[in-house]
């Protein structure tokens, strides 16, 4: 009897099994965290220029341009790095070992995405309530970064369970624990952003290297034999 669901899982598993996605996500998280650090801790770097631009072009237009450029840059880095890794690592090297699968747009299930989003939202909500109660507005941002850490942890744990990728279990566990320590460490919000980003970038890069090492051990043949 054919197990259709198992075959479909094995196909989706391709996207995460080789570790390429881990490198791309690590890079993206690191960039976002550096962006957070610059925004919160180094306002002298960007605030005067942003003010001048706002005076020159008007607040609304300048705001839209600044945010638009930031998100466009993040999107370009994310897509560009994935395409580059796909071409260099997957198409030129890994396709000789395990073949090539072009995935659909959404590889992660809606259930996983919804759970991750819920965790993020809950952290923000609880953080806001505590911040109002204690009277420290910075707690909202700490809660937001903690929510982000837990969101990643839950997402990778669920992807690991769903697609049977065991290396994501320690990644999720270590990430969840260290996210708490970082969120409540005596650091500025910018430093928390940077530390959180570095934590997840290191965890995912380690996970990616582990997966690639396993892939490197597989036999290689250039001809597909079709």
């Amino acid at each position: 009897m054919i197990n259709i669901r198992h075959l479909q899982r094995q196909t989706r598993r391709f996207e995460f099994a080789d570790g390429v996605r881990d490198f791309q996500t690590a890079l993206l998280i690191l960039l976002m965290s550096i962006f957070g650090w610059v925004v919160w801790d180094l306002p002298n770097l960007w605030l005067p220029a942003a003010r001048d631009f706002m005076r020159w072009q008007g607040q609304l237009f300048a705001g839209i341009v600044i945010f638009g450029l930031t998100f466009a840059l993040v999107y370009l880095v994310s897509e560009g790095s994935l395409r580059l890794l796909n071409e260099v690592v997957r198409r030129r090297w890994l396709s000789r070992k395990v073949g090539l699968v072009t995935q659909k747009k959404w590889v992660v299930s809606r259930k996983t995405l919804f759970a991750a989003f819920t965790i993020m939202l809950l952290s923000l909500l609880v953080g806001s309530v505590i911040a109002v109660t204690v009277g420290d507005p910075w707690l909202v941002l700490r809660a937001l970064y903690l929510g982000m850490g837990w969101e990643f942890a839950l997402m990778y744990f669920m992807i690991g369970q769903e697609l049977d990728i065991r290396r994501y279990r320690p990644v999720a566990l270590v990430g969840a624990v260290l996210s708490v320590l970082i969120a409540f460490a005596p650091l500025s919000v910018g430093q928390i952003s940077l530390a959180m980003g570095m934590l997840w970038a290191v965890l995912l890069a380690a996970s990616g290297f582990y997966a690639l090492r396993q892939m490197a051990a597989l036999p290689e043949s250039a001809d597909d034999g079709a």
């Binding site: 259709i4 989706r12 030129r92 000789r96 699968v101 995935q103 250039a222 597909d224």
Partner: protein
């Protein structure tokens, strides 16, 4: 029960064959897959996979693109819209029949 019996007899036989069902199941969950990936996931032999791919292509359920990658052949397969519809219909019928058979 008569309707279910009719459903069984009208099931898509091109997809119902186990090797072809495995291929279509894999291709239904991605945009495309190459020959080597299909070999690894389905566990079929090269000869069997080639033959079944040809049958699915003849039925209009998939497209096979042959190209070259550094002097070597590279074969990529993807379901056509007709293949996707056929698999969806097959899967819906399969699940419905499974439900009926479990109840009996």
């Amino acid at each position: 029960m008569e309707r279910e019996v009719q459903d069984i007899t009208s099931i898509d036989r091109v997809i119902h064959e186990p090797a072809r069902l495995a291929i279509v199941a894999v291709l239904s969950s991605c945009e495309s897959a190459d020959f080597k990936a299909l070999l690894g996931i389905t566990g079929l032999s090269k000869g069997n996979l080639s033959a079944q791919l040809q049958k699915l292509e003849e039925a209009g359920y998939l497209t096979i693109t042959k190209g070259f990658q550094e002097r070597y052949t590279h074969t990529t397969c993807a379901l056509t819209p007709a293949g996707q519809d056929a698999f969806k219909a097959y899967w819906a019928r399969y699940k419905a029949l499974g439900g009926v058979l479990n109840l009996e």
